[in-house]
Symmetry: none
Subunit: 203 residues, 2 copies
């Protein structure tokens, strides 16, 4: 745990290390730290560094030259996690149940995933509205029932539910909208561009 009770010199050392790293991209050596605060002893500089390690501000690669590393200032909860309050329907006020679980969105951020904004109403009955952002994982193949981004005749890209005919010669692209009809293409005309793995909307 990080302490706030730094002596003046400890604070000076910390500030110096921070600005040094800012400029030089490597940590200073003890000699340089000593000079920076106006002393000559490497041993004393080492003592200050050690105090900052104990206080939780630094980390050292013991023995290595320039082996000081700054620790991030906050515990910083994982950037892709949200506190998850489960079924709030249970009825308690939110303050009472905070900090229980977490929901992790890192699965949205895989190497092969990308986002596109949906145009049109063809998937409204699947809860995908005009203007929503969908997260797609890039793949060249899909399974029946997947919602895919399909490129037709190398021209038109569209988001639809995917179904292959029994012989595999045709591909049916099914909208989730009772006002619209499924479309059938020869398999050669359709290129899968990815499969829907997530959806985002921001109000």
């Amino acid at each position: 745990m990080r302490t706030n009770e730094l002596t003046d010199n400890q604070r000076k050392v910390l500030d110096f290390i921070q600005s040094y790293v800012e400029v030089n991209e490597v940590s200073p050596k003890l000699q340089e730290i000593a000079e920076a605060i106006g002393i000559t002893s490497r041993g004393v500089a080492h003592r200050y560094v050690q105090a900052l390690v104990d206080a939780g501000f630094l980390e050292t690669h013991s023995g290595k030259h320039r082996g000081i590393r700054l620790l991030p200032s906050e515990p910083e909860r994982s950037a892709t996690a949200l506190p998850f309050l489960g079924k709030i329907a249970a009825g308690k006020p939110i303050e009472a149940i905070a900090g229980q679980d977490e929901i992790d969105l890192s699965n949205f951020f895989g190497a092969n995933s990308y986002a596109i904004r949906v145009q049109g109403e063809s998937m409204v009955e699947a809860g995908i509205m005009d203007g929503d952002i969908v997260v797609i994982e890039f793949r060249e193949t899909a399974n029946d029932g997947d919602i895919v981004v399909a490129l037709i005749d190398e021209e038109e890209a569209t988001l639809k539910r995917f179904k292959r005919s029994q012989q595999g010669r045709y591909i049916k692209l099914i909208p989730e909208n009772s006002d619209m009809e499924p479309m059938v293409y020869e398999a050669e005309r359709v290129r899968i561009q990815g499969v829907l793995i997530g959806q985002l909307r921001h109000y």
Copy 2:
């Protein structure tokens, strides 16, 4: 993983290789590296190169002459960003348009936001389905038209669209489902627990 704990000479070597490649379009030979940092031993130069390989800055084609390659500095896209491909409807295959824009989800992750899983169908016509996860920003007040988490009689929490009566004595909670009816409560019985700011779904 790339370390930035390089010794002075390691950094000198790296800088030299970078500028050499910039000019000559091939990597320098060990002899040249040695001269550049003022030493005579190819063996020592090799040791520096190896250190940079270990640190993740270089790659070598072992044995090959001038076989050093610079590794690109990781662009490290923000952990909360996704490549955003805009209207893929334009028709190009995905490979052709990768790496253009980014969509940043950091606004989902504010200090006062949390996530809950939706139960029930009361908001389907707003595109919020049973099982979806909604992101809520904690607030005690809401504006007409906001979708809110409301706690009724300190017991039941529900997600509905919010509307206040003209005198402010009553609050109407409106489902987005034509099969269901709005409900009206005295303002004292309703406690706002937060306002909908986002929605996530994972397939």
